[in-house]
């Protein structure tokens, strides 16, 4: 087991290094000159030259990359924003709690909705509950959050007046009700994916002999469903949950923009629109690290839950649904 864990961690480090390299040099290759972004295109040449020197932009790219990595690893320093000169770690500390809260709530909601409806669908396969659950799931996959969001706002906030329109009150305070709509909108897609996968995993397990044996022994439906079936259907559900978490983070870009929630998604889009490269780089690196970490945890959990995975070295085996947030 220890060797399995070590091997997984051993794979994560080069992946992160490769990503940091790509992120850094992609920004380097981009057509815009950072100095133009910092002081404006029309600044005097002397000012530009001085800025270039101050920001260390005149050094060779490899040196800058090494410096960049060194600062991140030793001091957790991602540099400063080109536009506001603010330290990026401060920007992240401001935005990340909001995103983390939203993503966690949405993940919980999608598990709470997805697993039971997938189980219901599997138990009543090809009958009304299955049909209803799977139609809803398909809608969840096909309707993007920037369509679902406005529709829900229109109905529940503008027409019925039950909930506030935007995620954050203008005063910056956040009460629970501000999070209701964003959480639902963000969770819709992942709930749909989890429901679909739970259904098919349960269907696979329910066909197994040991389930039939359990039924033949006269065990109650509940015991068979939860102890025999769900327990064994769980590893694939766990995998799709991890994949889903990635989509929740990607989805937070849209949902935060939609509801004006100042999280890292909102901040990233803002940085992209303003071409604030150091911020984009840091956000990309942060998100990549989260993914690598989540995948690592899932692989290890998978190894714990299903000892066969340890031997083949195949962990989560990406099950993926393409598409937008």
């Amino acid at each position: 087991m220890l060797r399995f864990v070590a091997a997984r961690i051993g794979l994560a480090v080069p992946t992160l290094l490769a990503i940091s390299f790509l992120v850094f040099f992609a920004a380097y290759l981009s057509p815009a000159d950072p100095v133009d972004i910092i002081v404006g295109e029309r600044a005097a040449p002397e000012v530009k030259a001085r800025t270039r020197q101050q920001w260390g932009l005149d050094r060779p790219p490899l040196v800058r990359y090494g410096d960049y990595l060194w600062n991140i690893v030793t001091r957790f320093d991602f540099g400063r924003s080109y536009l506001t000169q603010e330290s990026i770690i401060d920007i992240i500390q401001r935005g990340f709690p909001n995103t983390a809260l939203l993503a966690t709530l949405a993940l919980l909601l999608s598990l709470l909705v997805g697993i039971p409806s997938g189980m219901l669908a599997a138990v009543w396969v090809n009958r009304a509950p299955d049909r209803i659950a799977m139609s809803l799931a398909l809608t969840g996959v096909a309707v993007p959050s920037f369509v679902l969001g406005p529709v829900l706002v229109l109905v529940f906030a503008l027409r019925l007046d039950w909930l506030p329109v935007v995620g954050f009150s203008p005063q910056g305070g956040m009460t629970a009700e501000f999070f209701v709509l964003p959480t639902i909108v963000l969770a819709a897609r992942s709930a749909a994916l989890i429901a679909r996968l739970t259904r098919s995993a349960m269907l696979d397990v329910l066909r197994q002999d040991y389930v039939r044996t359990a039924r033949a022994k006269g065990l109650g439906n509940g015991v068979v469903l939860f102890k025999h079936a769900l327990k064994n259907a769980f590893p694939p559900i766990l995998t799709v949950t991890a994949t889903t978490f990635g989509y929740l983070l990607a989805g937070s870009f849209v949902v935060e923009t939609l509801f004006a929630i100042p999280g890292i998604g909102y901040q990233s889009i803002d940085a992209i629109r303003k071409r604030d490269y150091p911020v984009i780089q840091a956000m990309a690196l942060l998100l990549a690290s989260i993914f690598v970490l989540v995948n690592l945890v899932v692989d290890i959990l998978y190894g714990v839950l299903d000892p066969r995975a340890r031997l083949t070295g195949g962990g989560s085996g990406s099950i993926r649904q393409k598409g937008a947030a």
Partner: protein, 308 residues
């Protein structure tokens, strides 16, 4: 064995015999009401998109400032937006944008995915290991996020409309191929061990010939299904990028951008139609592609249908 008999035993050159989709694919597809309706809807959409310049009553950027935010009428069948532009025309040109992005991206995805999958699956060994490592790393990240970062770095937000369109295609094409590569590789691994491949090889067929004659035709149906469903994802991804303001740029009317522009103008309460119409167009297109994909899967492989 005389040579004449050998050639008689050799797999025929007619791909029809080797392609598993049995006759009746069309019949089975059209017998499925959801799939048939979706196919019809998508055909209509393609026609409208192709002939948008003829069908659309106005230009997509044509402003009539004296006729802002009008309700649907004879001149403007679906009303106008805050700049007095005809909503129907913008929706039609939006379909053109969505579909052309989808076609171009799928061309990239199929080219790269097929190449990577074929090479990895057919040759195996270190090449396979290396290619699949890259594929797995890319699969670990949501492709939309990769695309967002790509367009962010290359700067669609400040590009001209035409350049932004190209950048969106490149970003989605470069990030979209891994699932298809995975699928192709898996199929090839299975096919490589089948008797007819072995037979062809023992008859002296070259790798190229085996790939062309025996592997590729058998890949057609799974690729067709995957591409159909994937197209839905690409259309959503383009709409997402455009919604975020980093996709196709103004004045090109992308459905995603129409939604975000209308939201930014606070039309949700007063003119919800400006948000709901592009939303409906987008959702219907994506749903239809999903239904068609499911229908195709069942029609191409009736046995799988029986199991479900």
């Amino acid at each position: 064995m005389p040579e004449a008999e050998l050639t008689a035993l050799a797999p025929s050159d007619a791909p029809a015999e080797l392609t598993p989709p049995a006759p009746g694919v069309w019949r089975r597809l059209l017998a499925n009401p959801l799939a048939a309706a979706s196919l019809l809807l998508l055909l209509l959409l393609v026609l409208l998109a192709v002939f948008a310049p003829v069908v659309a009553p106005h230009g997509f950027a044509e402003q009539k400032l004296e006729r802002q935010l009008e309700n649907p009428s004879g001149t403007f069948p679906l009303g106008t937006d805050e700049l007095g532009r005809d909503t129907l025309s913008r929706l039609l040109y939006g379909a053109r944008i969505s579909l052309s992005v989808a076609v171009a991206v799928e061309a990239c995805v199929v080219t790269i995915g097929l190449l990577v999958g074929l090479i990895a699956g057919f040759f195996g060994g270190a090449v396979d290991a290396a290619l699949m490592r890259v594929t797995d790393v890319m699969l670990a990240f949501p492709d939309v996020l990769l695309a967002i970062l790509l367009v962010g770095i290359f700067g669609t937000a400040t590009a001209s409309p035409a350049a932004s369109l190209l950048l969106v295609v490149v970003a989605l094409g470069v990030t979209g191929w891994p699932p298809l590569a995975r699928l192709v590789r898996g199929q090839v691994l299975g096919l490589r061990k089948r008797e007819f491949v072995e037979a062809a090889r023992s008859l002296g067929a070259t790798n190229g010939r085996i790939l062309r004659r025996h592997i590729l035709p058998n890949l057609l149906s799974p690729i067709l299904v995957a591409v159909t469903v994937d197209t839905a994802g690409v259309i959503l991804a383009e709409a997402t990028l455009s919604f975020l303001g980093i996709g196709v740029q103004r004045p090109y009317p992308s459905w995603g951008r129409m939604i975000s522009d209308a939201l930014a103008e606070n039309h949700l309460r007063s003119e919800p139609r400006l948000i709901l119409l592009p939303s409906l167009a987008l959702s219907l297109t994506v749903l239809a592609l999903n239904f068609l994909g499911d229908g195709l899967r069942d029609a191409l492989d009736p046995r799988a249908h029986a199991k479900r």
